[in-house]
């Protein structure tokens, strides 16, 4: 997953270098290209080659269709029907979607994940970027160790991490009471209504900053060091090199990382659902749209409306990602 942007810059540098040194005219092929074969034979040859391609893709295609396409189609078909507890199932076209987009619980959940996105993504990005920039400058054994340690939280399964933090936040089992006691203060209740937002931001940042850091670090490693030399010759200090040279050159991988973070945050589910076991009051069943869809389906048996909510969320995520990529099209290297 080397960022294409960095190599693109590198290539451009190479091309200009080549242009400066004189080129020999392009070599003429030794034998003339063979004339096109008659059309019927081409089709047979092409189809034969294509068959091998399809054969190699087949195992993946079977799994893909069975576990992704078919369930999606079925869920979409379910979302077009309404089923009530008292009166049964009927085909109602897009009534569920109209209900979803005017449902105050769904909209509140959307607002909540949007505010999570506004706070969590910059937090993760800043931690990841600063860590990557610092580690890029060092090459000691400590830096290698730090790189591993910052990445380790990502290796912990999300559910385990959330369970662990649930205990760390607990007034009885967590260290907070002892730590705050050492300096003579009472520990705040991390699982109360006012603090649950910050507690969740903390868990997600802890887990994902390392992953983003690795991606950004790999992109930084792909930059030609000659550029830093050139910048230093022009009189730039370390901070200016970091902010004015490195960051713009890895902007396409940063955009990719931001897109992952955005999609993941809009679909926020695991951490609040796991923490619900210890904070049932602070985290209601419909805290995020995904949790709302889950409880609709599995607690209240409203499978049709749950499918509609899931697709509505998917539409919002798609729109958000498309908008974001459109706004960052220059930086992402997709243009």
């Amino acid at each position: 997953m080397i960022a294409p942007g960095a190599t693109e810059e590198q290539n451009r540098t190479k091309d200009t270098d080549m242009a400066l040194t004189e080129l020999a005219p392009p070599p003429v092929p030794a034998t003339p290209r063979p004339t096109r074969r008659p059309r019927r034979q081409i089709d047979r040859m092409d189809r034969k080659r294509q068959r091998w391609g399809w054969l190699f893709v087949a195992p993946f295609a079977v799994v893909f269709v069975t576990f992704l396409v078919a369930p999606l189609a079925y869920a979409f078909w379910m979302s077009l029907q309404t089923s009530t507890l008292a009166t049964g199932t009927s085909f109602t076209w897009f009534a569920n979607y109209a209900k979803a987009f005017t449902d105050p619980i769904f909209l509140e959940g959307l607002g909540r994940v949007a505010s999570f996105a506004l706070i969590m993504i910059p937090a993760q990005m800043i931690v990841a970027l600063v860590a990557a920039l610092v580690l890029d400058n060092l090459s000691t054994a400590l830096s290698k160790f730090s790189r591993l340690m910052i990445f380790v939280p990502y290796a912990i399964p999300v559910v385990i991490g959330a369970l662990m933090w649930g205990f760390l936040y607990s007034p009885r089992f967590g260290p907070a009471t002892d730590i705050f006691g050492l300096i003579g203060l009472t520990a705040p209740d991390f699982l109360s209504q006012g603090t649950i937002f910050a507690s969740l931001v903390n868990i997600v940042t802890w887990q994902w900053a390392g992953y983003y850091m690795i991606i950004i670090y790999a992109a930084l490693r792909g930059i030609d060091p000659a550029i830093y030399e050139a910048a230093r010759l022009d009189g730039a200090n370390g901070r200016q090199i970091a902010l004015r040279v490195k960051v713009p050159m890895i902007s396409s991988s940063m955009v990719m990382v931001l897109i992952f973070a955005l999609i993941g945050t809009l679909q926020f589910f695991t951490e609040p659902q796991v923490l619900r076991a210890v904070a049932q009051g602070a985290i209601p069943v419909s805290y995020t749209p995904n949790m709302y869809a889950y409880s609709l389906a599995f607690s209240y048996s409203q499978f049709n409306y749950a499918s509609a909510i899931s697709f509505a969320l998917g539409i919002v995520v798609f729109a958000g990602s498309y908008l974001f990529l459109f706004l960052t099209r220059k930086q992402s290297g997709l243009k």
Binding site: L85, A86, T87, F173, Q280, G281, P284, S299, Y300, S301
Partner: protein
């Protein structure tokens, strides 16, 4: 060459390990009949699949299997409470995968009977065993003339209290709620770190039982008229109870921790809560918690009353065996449902090892059960003292067909109340509005 050889050996080893994982998986994922947790005694007899989470249940199944030639029970534990209901709900939706007989708490029976997932057992001889069960538990398992499940255990409520903490603070055992409030204040004034009791906002059926004690009847529902429902959650009884508890909460005399979390369990055993308002399965739960304080002295007393002259007994929990509409052989399944906890022998195991409270009258009325001494309570005969009376006085309760939703909304309203955002009456009025809106949305005709 050596590294290539080692690399290929490594890849083959990993692939072999992964593939053995595959085959092991396919072996155990055969038909549900092949994956019984218990042993099948008569391999030729037809099998009935059962989902249940009772403690020490395997012995009960063995008793049944050893005594029946015509049918064998194949039991799996598919999860406790809502975990099992989620699986059951999806199997109903997908029209396959449900067991023949399933353990269901009485509060969710109408949620499943409205989806035509349960068989009416009156055609399979349920009325023949009706007089073996208490009136309250039988009413919980039936709806109108239909009987959707066979009762197993109940949860009549009593008060478990720390005798040593009461003596240290000089508190007499309260018999009314007024005395209870005074006791709470006395405990706090004595300088104790703990509180008298915890009031959980996620109590769900516990909170509802407290309301019922003041005469609240939240739902009127009959499965023979499945589209009609009466909702009255904000009646005066419930409001009075909630105002009482809110007063204790705002005065700081009770805590509002979530129930059944690790924190809550620790508080139960280390004396932070001096009282545990419990159902008859509470003692079993309490005994199962580790790190208990060795100097703790627990005792059981009847639940405090609003009016000492007219005591009202309430019930919290209790489960049943229902036959699902996906059952292969409904006659055999009904026989299993009635037979599993239908003998004295199986109930002895249920009482001694499972700490269950029977709705089965032959066991309930027996001298053995009444005189049973519980060493955890210092030898107190808790059944004779408290729970038998509570069970006899219980006349049943009606639950809505969307009880899960109702409880979730109740939890949200109660949480908002203890945070000080609204008082008890407002919380219940809001809950009433939410439930009426939901019921109307779901196509019910709502009567107040």
């Amino acid at each position: 060459m050596k590294t290539k050889f080692l690399a290929s050996v490594g890849v083959i080893a990993v692939a072999a390990a992964a593939l053995t994982g595959c085959s092991a998986g396919s072996e155990s994922s055969g038909s549900s009949k092949a994956t019984c947790t218990n042993k099948i005694v008569n391999a030729d007899a037809p099998q009935v699949s059962v989902w249940a989470w009772y403690p020490a249940f395997e012995e009960v199944v063995d008793v049944f299997n050893n005594s029946h030639d015509d049918v064998q029970v194949c039991w799996t534990n598919a999860g406790q409470g809502n975990d099992e209901y989620t699986k059951f709900s999806t199997s109903i939706e997908s029209k396959s995968g449900a067991p023949d007989v399933i353990q269901l708490e009485s509060e969710v029976l109408s949620s499943f009977s409205i989806r035509n997932a349960l068989v009416d057992l009156t055609e399979f001889g349920a009325n023949d065993v009706k007089d073996k069960y208490t009136e309250g538990s039988w009413k919980d398992a039936s709806s109108g003339d239909a009987v959707y499940a066979i009762p197993v255990d109940g949860g009549p409520m009593g008060m478990l209290y720390r005798q040593d903490l009461f003596e240290a603070a000089g508190i007499a055992v309260p018999t009314t709620w007024a005395e209870f409030a005074t006791a709470a204040a006395t405990l706090k004034a004595s300088g104790s770190d703990g509180v008298l009791v915890n009031f959980p906002t996620n109590g769900r059926a516990f909170n509802q039982a407290l309301f019922a004690q003041a005469g609240s009847v939240p739902f009127v529902y009959d499965s023979t008229k499945p589209t009609d429902i009466g909702i009255d959650v904000n009646d005066q009884g419930a409001k009075d109870v909630l105002d009482y508890w809110n007063g204790l909460v705002q005065d700081g005399l009770v805590t509002t921790d979530d129930a059944f979390t690790a924190d809550y369990n620790t508080s139960l055993v280390d004396g932070t809560y001096a009282v545990y308002l419990a159902a008859a399965w509470g003692p079993g739960y309490l005994q199962g918690l580790s790190d208990a304080d060795e100097n703790a002295v627990w005792a059981v007393a009847p639940l405090p009353q609003w009016d000492a002259a007219n005591p009202v007994q309430v019930n919290w929990g209790g489960s049943t065996f229902a036959v699902t509409s996906q059952a292969g052989d409904k006659d055999l399944s009904a026989e299993v449902a009635m037979g599993l906890f239908g003998t004295d022998e199986s109930w002895k195991i249920g009482v001694e090892k499972g700490a269950l409270f029977p709705s089965y009258k032959p066991m309930l009325d027996s001298d053995y059960f009444a005189n049973l001494e519980y060493p955890f309570f210092g030898g107190q005969q808790i059944n004779k003292d408290v729970f038998l009376n509570a069970a006899a006085g219980y006349t049943g309760a009606t639950f809505s067909p969307f009880q899960n939703y109702a409880y979730d909304q109740l939890t949200e309203e109660l949480y908002s109340m203890v945070q000080g955002e609204q008082d008890g009456s407002q919380a219940l009025d809001d809950l009433q509005e939410r439930l009426v809106t939901y019921a109307t949305e779901q196509g019910f005709t709502v009567a107040k």
